[in-house]
């Protein structure tokens, strides 16, 4: 660590804000990118959640001639290839993707962090075994495993969630392990060992709080990818309800009419793009804030 920074931070007289996760988020919101990211995400989550309650039509209602441009009977965004209202379908279409993405990412995170922490702390044969197992799962690109699962069982909600969760966990585990390894080496962990603190307590009380920063970044990254894969699956026609309103399936179904009635495909494309950009920007904002805080503190 550079001596000049050490010089600059030695002998602090007035309290600097402590680095807890709540502070991390609030500080990161000072950055433009975090704000923009958060607003994109919130906007689209609002659309997905509230949409169905304010949609003028049901998703399968026939409103106008197929592929009619916006205006009149066809509504705000025109009608799709079956004559259904694009705007209403758009409002209904986010929920499925978001719910599956959030649930699967959350499950993957929980397992991934647990495995990663155990591997990092074990530092022995257990670590090797766990990481090899993770390697085996990671030998498949996420979408491949989802495709295989769907091909065997069918495109049901639980299958998709399970496939994404199973492929998310090892990737998270790798990152968690990488973040936890330097912490395991630090003396305060040894101090608790000398007290005889139980292993579980060490993992949860000493290690976990110290990897929250990188984990939050990883969480937003994983959410971004989960949304991408689930939307891609829908785009390939593998959504739980192929005829229901789903941004991914909408894109697939209305792709052909892009030159005449673009909105059928364009609206969901924009929605997915903004959502993923939002999670990406948000995660990056947190990453930068965490890095900035570490620099300021001049830790080790």
């Amino acid at each position: 660590m550079s001596q000049s920074v050490e010089n600059l931070t030695h002998g602090v007289d007035t309290p600097t804000p402590p680095v807890r996760s709540s502070t991390l988020v609030t500080r990161s919101l000072r950055l433009w990118r975090t704000r923009i990211g958060a607003s994109f995400v919130l906007l689209l989550v609002a659309v997905a959640v509230i949409g169905p309650f304010v949609a003028p039509h049901t998703p399968s209602e026939f409103v106008a001639i197929p592929n009619s441009p916006p205006g009149g009977d066809a509504g705000l965004l025109g009608s799709d290839y079956l004559g259904q209202d694009v705007f209403s379908r758009f409002l209904y279409g986010g929920r499925g993707i978001l719910v599956m993405a959030i649930v699967s990412t959350a499950i993957g995170l929980v397992f991934g962090v647990a495995i990663g922490l155990v591997a990092a702390y074990a530092r022995n044969a257990l670590d090797d075994v766990l990481m090899r197992a993770m390697d085996v799962i990671m030998a498949f690109p996420q979408i491949m495993l989802a495709l295989v699962a769907v091909s065997l069982v069918g495109a049901q909600t639980w299958v998709i969630i399970a496939a994404i969760a199973v492929t998310t966990a090892p990737r998270v585990a790798r990152v968690a392990r990488g973040a936890a390894q330097p912490v395991v080496e630090r003396d305060f962990v040894a101090a608790t060992e000398s007290m005889g603190l139980s292993r579980v307590r060490i993992l949860t009380g000493e290690l976990l709080p110290n990897i929250l920063g990188p984990m939050m970044v990883e969480a937003s990254l994983r959410l971004t990818y989960s949304i991408g894969v689930i939307a891609a699956l829908a785009f390939l026609g593998l959504a739980p309800d192929p005829n229901g309103a789903n941004w991914g399936t909408m894109i697939q179904q209305n792709q052909i009419a892009l030159s005449t009635q673009p909105w059928g495909a364009l609206a969901p494309i924009i929605a997915i793009a903004l959502l993923t950009m939002g999670t990406g920007l948000f995660g990056d904002g947190i990453a930068r804030t965490a890095a900035g805080i570490d620099r300021e503190r001049g830790d080790e």
Binding site: V148, L152, L236, L238
Partner: protein, 323 residues
């Protein structure tokens, strides 16, 4: 046994190969188990048309009358001999079916790799050098946004931009007739390749930038400058070899990711490669094809990781002496 532990780079490669074989073996078990565990494939294929007789015929055809272990061994044995099984939908050997498609997909992935790897290394390094100046801010933010977008969204946006609405420059679909080769119609390769490049390059570029920044702030680069070395020497001899080590792993992961991304891209562009075969196989419950492709992609992944590990070792002398 001692040679394996201490035989230098050659032994390291062999160790990694053995490990890779182990992983592939485990993957094959996993793939196979998944097939078995999730119900009777014969029933799933026949669906409502399943009568006891048709079931029995299909089961015999699929070797389902053998024991589980027997089935696994005949399948795995076949794999090792190059027999990838027989497609249920096409009633033809899988290898025959996939042969030319494999070539098509490989061409696509290869083009994407050849463009994206040097591009991302150059972009990342340059951004690190011009840290926090205009070039860096613009590229970093652009890379961030592009990396977040799902590939099919990128593909469609490109199609909208270049092939339909805005500019009408490039073909929107890239079908290759049987017997044709991808390079016969280069214009059709542009958009799919561009999509793959955009799918992969931003992430590698960001990692390269981070690695380069860390190296540029290191004590030994500072020391090189304090020795009065010309800036070019500092960058090329001191910075780059150390910055690029960590990036090899990322490149391997990205190329493996391409293998998955190819599926969606080929669908968008109607490109006849293994991606679309996989998609068809999934829809038709054509299990042998799915199994074969899964193993193929896993093998590619393992190979890429091996290459990345070796490359990292070559660039990091400190790891070499521990071998």
């Amino acid at each position: 046994m001692t040679w394996l532990r201490h035989g230098g780079i050659a032994a390291f490669v062999v160790r990694r190969l053995l490990l890779g074989v182990l992983v592939l073996f485990l993957v094959s078990v996993l793939v196979f188990a998944a097939t078995q565990a999730l119900g009777d494939p014969a029933r799933a294929i026949l669906g409502r048309n399943a009568t006891p007789e048709s079931l029995a015929v299909l089961q015999k055809q699929l070797n389902l009358d053998q024991s589980v272990l027997g089935q696994y061994l005949s399948w795995a044995g076949g794999l090792l001999q190059g027999d990838l099984g027989s497609s249920l939908a096409a009633q033809a050997p899988v290898s025959q079916l996939l042969g030319s498609r494999l070539v098509n997909s490989s061409v696509l992935v290869l083009c994407a790799a050849v463009i994206s790897i040097p591009l991302s290394i150059a972009l990342g390094s340059w951004a690190a050098l011009r840290r926090e100046k205009a070039f860096d801010t613009v590229t970093s933010n652009l890379m961030l946004v592009l990396a977040a977008l799902p590939e099919f969204v990128v593909a469609l946006l490109l199609v909208i931009l270049f092939a339909t609405t805005v500019l009408n420059v490039l073909p929107a679909i890239s079908t290759i007739a049987p017997g044709e080769r991808p390079w016969d119609a280069p214009a059709e390769l542009v958009l799919p390749t561009a999509t793959l490049v955009i799918a992969v390059a931003p992430y590698v570029a960001r990692i390269m930038r981070a690695s380069m920044v860390e190296v540029l702030e290191s004590d030994y680069v500072e020391m090189a400058r304090l020795k009065g070395l010309p800036e070019r020497t500092v960058l090329i001899r001191h910075a780059l070899p150390n910055a690029i080590g960590p990036v090899f792993q990322v490149i391997a992961i990205s190329l493996a990711y391409l293998a998955g991304g190819v599926v969606v891209i080929e669908y968008v562009f109607n490109y006849s490669g293994i991606g679309s075969s996989l998609q068809d196989a999934v829809v038709n419950h054509d299990i042998p094809v799915v199994q074969a492709l899964a193993m193929l992609i896993a093998a590619v992944y393992v190979l890429l990781n091996l290459l990345a590990d070796v490359a990292t070792i070559l660039v990091t002398p400190r790891l070499r002496t521990r071998l």
